[in-house]
């Protein structure tokens, strides 16, 4: 694979698809939210961060 940084995208994808196995509980609460919801929200935010990093490293973007 010529662009290994692309693999970063797998991290939020796996964290979200696997959420019910990693995080299917109420406690500890995150900002008052049940843990499962907080986990998903955190990884949606991280998706944005990761895609911005990949976009920054990608030389096709001006």
């Amino acid at each position: 694979m010529t662009k290994p940084y692309r693999l970063l995208a797998l991290i939020p994808a796996v964290a979200i698809l696997g959420a019910p196995w990693f995080a299917n509980r109420i406690e500890p609460r995150i900002l008052g939210m049940p843990f499962l919801l907080g986990w998903i929200v955190f990884w949606v935010l991280m998706t944005s961060v990761v895609m911005a990093i990949i976009g920054g490293l990608d030389d096709r973007n001006p």
């Binding site: 995208a9 939020p12 994808a13 979200i16 698809l17 696997g18 959420a19 019910p20 196995w21 299917n24 509980r25 109420i26 609460r29 900002l31 008052g32 939210m33 049940p34 499962l36 919801l37 998903i40 929200v41 990884w43 949606v44 935010l45 998706t47 944005s48 961060v49 990761v50 895609m51 911005a52 990949i54 976009g55 990608d58 096709r60 973007n61 001006p62």
Partner: protein, 489 residues
């Protein structure tokens, strides 16, 4: 009542005016390319508004809060699938865009015609497109009726609202095309953000003393509501449904068509980082649903979709109700306008296929189709009955069946033929129909198997049959000439 009515009318008027601005800036006679894909000149912001405009429909607004209210944790899949879809979009959308732009195609059906060099495949895709989009449009109109009649405190009946909303949509789609939708989408995004984020924060505090205390009460009164159950809507249901929804996400013909409006491919790579943030609006939609569960319990069946409007009416005066109703109105009008445009463009291109060296097609034919299609949608809205409900249940699964053939069209050395693609889609759609109409699930097909397997979304079965058929036919009848047209991407 008068206040909320005033806000609703003012919003409709503002939406019309904004779309006119979109129309005026184009001027003169409009080509179909200008009307349906904005001359492929949209930058990151306009494409963002268009994609966000499409994705946040009445379902997000009413259905998202309804799911949180009625089902609890399974609703979280609605936040999850968007994020995964945006990851995929980073690579998928530029690849589609590169080919679509080189071929100058204007509809999804046309994309498939060119990708496989087969008009028959294009026509099959057009049938799937229209069969899935029509019920989706009707759903938007029904949602619009509910929103307006609830937020005008019954002063405007649902039917009257549907007539007025549809007429307004037809006017602005005919006049200004996709540019008008993008402008209205901007207004919609602003209002949805204001209302949903505002209500999502204020309601839990006002009614239950904060987000933490609200969830503490729900956990006490409804144990098991905030986690996924071990069977039924279980972890494997969640993961398989998210994955399946991701595959279908960009297969909606109007979403696929929005891709063509972009100026360059990096627009999508930038949006892949932006869109997940907007996805978080749904979190506040859930907060509203949960707040409603404690304050206005007892809604059941289809009525759970009223949770957001009921709790707003209970907690606030007509000013806020009017604003929320107006935001809801726009969540029906914007996607509705894009769906209408998508069907009209698909049909216009089938009636008069694109040929090399021919002068640009005018938008007149597509524009004339818009009121006709709207009339058909109105007919189904008032007379549809159960056929429509069934079609709607199938619509997402139906468009998802286009994914294997799309993916094959993007692979550099694909040997998938047009015949293989057609056979795969037909078999996939048949499987969707059989499982949906027969009420079949993996659990009924695989009795006695563990929940980890039987809770997998039955949509995967159709998709697997589709892929197997597509490959089998392509291998059995390999194409010697007229191979698929490939463009480096």
């Amino acid at each position: 009542m008068m206040i909320s009515l005033g806000i609703l009318s003012a919003t409709l008027l503002l939406a019309l005016l904004l779309s006119m601005r979109g129309a005026r800036s184009t001027g003169g006679t409009t080509s179909l390319e200008q009307w349906s894909v904005g001359n492929r000149g949209f930058g990151t912001v306009l494409v963002f508004m268009l994609l966000a405009g499409e994705i946040y429909t009445t379902f997000t607004f009413l259905g998202g809060s309804g799911w949180a209210y009625g089902r609890g944790a399974p609703a979280f899949y609605i936040i999850a699938y968007g994020a995964v879809a945006y990851i995929m979009s980073y690579w998928l959308l530029p690849a589609i865009w590169t080919r679509a732009t080189a071929w100058k195609v204007l509809s999804q059906s046309e994309y498939f015609t060119r990708a496989y060099g087969s008009r028959a495949l294009g026509n099959v895709v057009a049938v799937v497109s229209i069969a899935a989009l029509m019920p989706y449009l009707v759903l938007q109109l029904k949602g619009l009726g509910i929103i307006v009649s609830e937020s005008s405190y019954g002063a405007i009946s649902a039917n009257a609202a549907i007539w007025i909303g549809t007429t307004a949509t037809v006017i602005y789609v005919v006049l200004s095309g996709v540019k008008g939708s993008a402008m209205t989408a901007a207004l919609k995004d602003a209002m949805v953000l204001l209302c949903v984020v505002g209500l999502g924060i204020v309601l839990p505090y006002k009614l239950h003393g904060g987000i933490g205390p609200m969830f503490t009460r729900i956990a006490a009164e409804y144990p098991d509501f905030l986690t996924l159950p071990s069977s039924g809507m279980s972890p494997s249901w969640f993961a398989s449904t998210v994955l399946l929804t991701v595959l279908g996400f960009y297969m909606w013909p109007h979403t696929f068509g929005s891709v063509f409006t972009a100026r360059d491919a990096s627009v999508f790579r930038r949006n892949a980082a932006l869109m997940p943030l907007y996805q978080l609006v749904l979190l506040f939609v859930f907060f509203i649903g949960f707040a409603a569960l404690l304050s206005v319990p007892g809604l059941e069946g289809a009525d759970v979709d009223l949770a957001l409007l009921r709790v707003t009416r209970d907690a606030f005066g007509p000013w806020i109700v009017g604003l929320v109703g107006a935001a809801g109105l726009l969540t029906a009008l914007v996607p509705g306008s894009l769906i209408l445009m998508s069907i009209a463009t698909t049909l216009a291109r089938i009636l008069r296929p694109q040929r090399e060296g021919q002068p640009a097609d005018s938008a007149t034919r597509a524009r004339l189709l818009v009121p006709v299609l709207a009339a058909i949608a109105l007919f189904f809205t008032f007379r549809g009955g159960s056929t429509l409900v069934t079609l709607l249940l199938m619509a997402y699964s139906m468009v998802t069946q286009l994914f294997p053939a799309l993916l094959a069209s993007l692979l550099p050395h694909s040997r998938i033929t047009a015949a293989g693609a057609i056979a795969g889609i037909v078999v996939g759609e048949a499987a969707v129909a059989v499982t949906t109409l027969g009420g079949m699930s993996m659990a009924s097909l695989l009795q006695g198997w563990p929940h980890g397997i039987t809770d997998i979304n039955a949509g995967f079965l159709a998709l697997m049959l589709n892929v197997i058929t597509m490959i089998a036919i392509s291998v059995a009848f390999p194409q010697t000439t007229n191979g698929p047209q490939r463009v480096a991407g």
